[in-house]
């Protein structure tokens, strides 16, 4: 049955049927080919996902992101970072990396980040004289830092399947997210210096800087508040997501004074659509995941890996290679749902903490977001910059090196993720 699902899925995807529909199609045809299972199983699996209380956090974290960055805050944040970083080598590009990292604290979606930050920064970087493929590549890679900094939607999905704590995952993602940010900023610095990219030439103005810090501080405070609420058990992750939305409403209404009914409705629809895209993939993947478990593939995979690879470091390497390859072809939420049931027992067998595995998985799969052929942030950034994806991929090579280097560190140094 699993082979039928894979075959149908691949053919459907190649024929441009959306990935979520292709997964469901594979599952339904797989079930139909079995004389022991009925299609009602697919419905039951899908229902169990949509009735999940923790998943309610997804639309509200997305709504928070839409409200915060869709308004004046996005521009304030970029102004502040430009004042701070614009004068160093590759500074304007570093603003993109830092913006994504901070935006990560108000949103949980790399795709939302690439759209919001990309549409503000890519035209500006091009106007400054940056090569369009480099501007697009920087935003495509930096947007993925968003899903390491809390709140993170892929972490919520991983927690749901693995049983790991959402709060622990959120906290574990901070250091890797900051290291990724530092690594990508270093790439921008080196490229800026080597290729003599333009910089801001106006002198530093302390008065302006302090005003900008004041304007941007609500965005800087939100991730801190989220961590405090989760760390001290003040509210559940779902309640925290709703409180974040309330915070975004209050800040937009009273501080920035840019909250209109039209913008509010737009943000609800935007968050609803983004939730629909992610949740349909989750529902479809849960059906496939159930069939894979029913056929005992995870257990067979664990046995096979333990017998053939034996050494823990080799097993971890193999997991990384499989995750990287999967992330390049399957959308991130689907890949998390399909790989987690197989890798959690395998990680346990080699003594790896599920929190470390979760962070490792998200970093692996996030590389697929800016790598062809299914690189969503790569696609969005390239289309905003109006450049060929191939040219952007060439500019992304140093970013891939940084990400893989950090991935190796996170895979073999548990302290980085479970400190």
């Amino acid at each position: 049955m699993s082979w039928i699902i894979i075959a149908v899925f691949l053919v459907a995807v190649l024929l441009s049927i959306p990935i979520a529909h292709a997964l469901l199609l594979g599952a339904v045809i797989g079930i139909a080919s079995s004389d022991r299972l009925g299609i009602h199983l697919a419905i039951e699996q899908m229902i169990s996902q949509v009735q999940s209380f923790p998943l309610i956090a997804i639309p509200f974290f997305m709504l928070t992101g839409s409200l915060m960055v869709g308004g004046r805050l996005g521009q304030y944040l970029i102004d502040l970072l430009t004042t701070l970083m614009g004068r160093v080598h590759g500074g304007p590009a570093q603003v993109g990396v830092l913006s994504s990292t901070i935006f990560g604290g108000v949103s949980g979606s790399a795709v939302a980040d690439a759209s919001a930050i990309g549409s503000l920064l890519i035209p500006w970087l091009k106007q400054l004289g940056y090569p369009a493929p480099f501007a697009a590549g920087t935003i495509a890679a930096a947007a993925t830092i968003d899903i390491l900094i809390p709140p993170s939607i892929p972490m919520i999905i991983y927690a749901l399947v693995s049983g790991a704590s959402i709060g622990a995952l959120f906290i574990a993602g901070i250091l890797p997210g900051l290291l990724m940010c530092a690594g990508f900023m270093a790439v921008c610095y080196v490229q800026g210096r080597r290729r003599n990219f333009p910089r801001i030439t106006t002198p530093f103005d302390w008065g302006r800087f302090i005003t900008e810090v004041g304007y941007a501080s609500p965005a800087l405070a939100l991730p801190v508040l989220i961590i405090i609420f989760l760390r001290f058990g003040i509210a559940t992750p779902t309640e925290v997501s709703v409180m974040s939305t309330l915070y975004a409403f209050v800040v937009s209404w009273l501080v920035y004074r840019d909250l209109t009914l039209k913008r509010m409705k737009g943000a609800v629809v935007e968050a609803g659509i983004a939730t629909g895209v992610v949740l349909l993939i989750i529902m479809a993947s849960s059906v496939v995941g159930w069939i894979v478990t029913y056929e005992q593939l995870p257990a067979a995979f664990v046995n096979f890996a333990q017998k053939t690879l034996r050494e823990p470091w080799l097993i971890i390497l193999a997991m990384n290679i499989i995750m990287l390859a999967t992330g390049m072809f399957i959308d991130l939420p689907a890949a998390v749902l399909l790989l987690t049931p197989m890798f959690v027992p395998l990680a346990a067998a080699v003594g790896m903490n599920p929190i470390q595995l979760g962070i490792m998985m998200i970093v692996n799969l996030s590389i697929g977001l800016y790598h062809p052929p299914v690189g969503t942030t790569l696609f969005i950034a390239s289309s905003i910059a109006r450049v060929r994806m191939g040219d952007v991929v060439i500019e992304l090579i140093p970013f891939y090196f940084v990400a893989i280097g950090l991935l190796i560190l996170m895979s073999y140094v548990p302290l980085l993720t479970i400190f």
Partner: protein
Amino acid sequence: MWVAFAHRIDEAIAWVLHVVLYLTTAAIFLILCVNVVLRYTTGASLQWASEVPELLFPWLIMAGVVLAAQHGTHISVVIVTQRLSKALRHWILAAGSVVVVGLYVVLTIAAWDVMLIAHDEKSPILQIPGSTSVAALLFGFILLALVTVTRLVIEWPGGGAQGAVTGQDELLARESS
């Protein structure tokens, strides 16, 4: 005539979906906010505060799923079909749409059967039938099939749009504009 009819159906569906999205989002938001505030001000909490959002959430999701289909935002891979001639691409995308319609018709029939069974299950506190959540899926599947047909009619060459588009094509168009 068919194109105008498809447009009207598409718009009516969009209107209904927007209303569902606004109502479910607002209701879940208010219930969860009030619950947190009550817990920290009076020490009590609403017993049904997790039950109602769990029942409304499937409606929010399915409204988002169908709206995403209307906007062409469900992620698809166009690397192969983009290399084909325009005419062949239209036919392949149309065939894909027909397959998707067939898939959701099958799922609608299965969801109907499950809904009848789930009607006898009641939620623990408010005693709301379990069919409420399955109905959301049924509602979504029917609309997904309908929207796939209307998009096919509208986006067919000469049908008012620039040609059949995939999710990524539309995303590209939206992001570039």
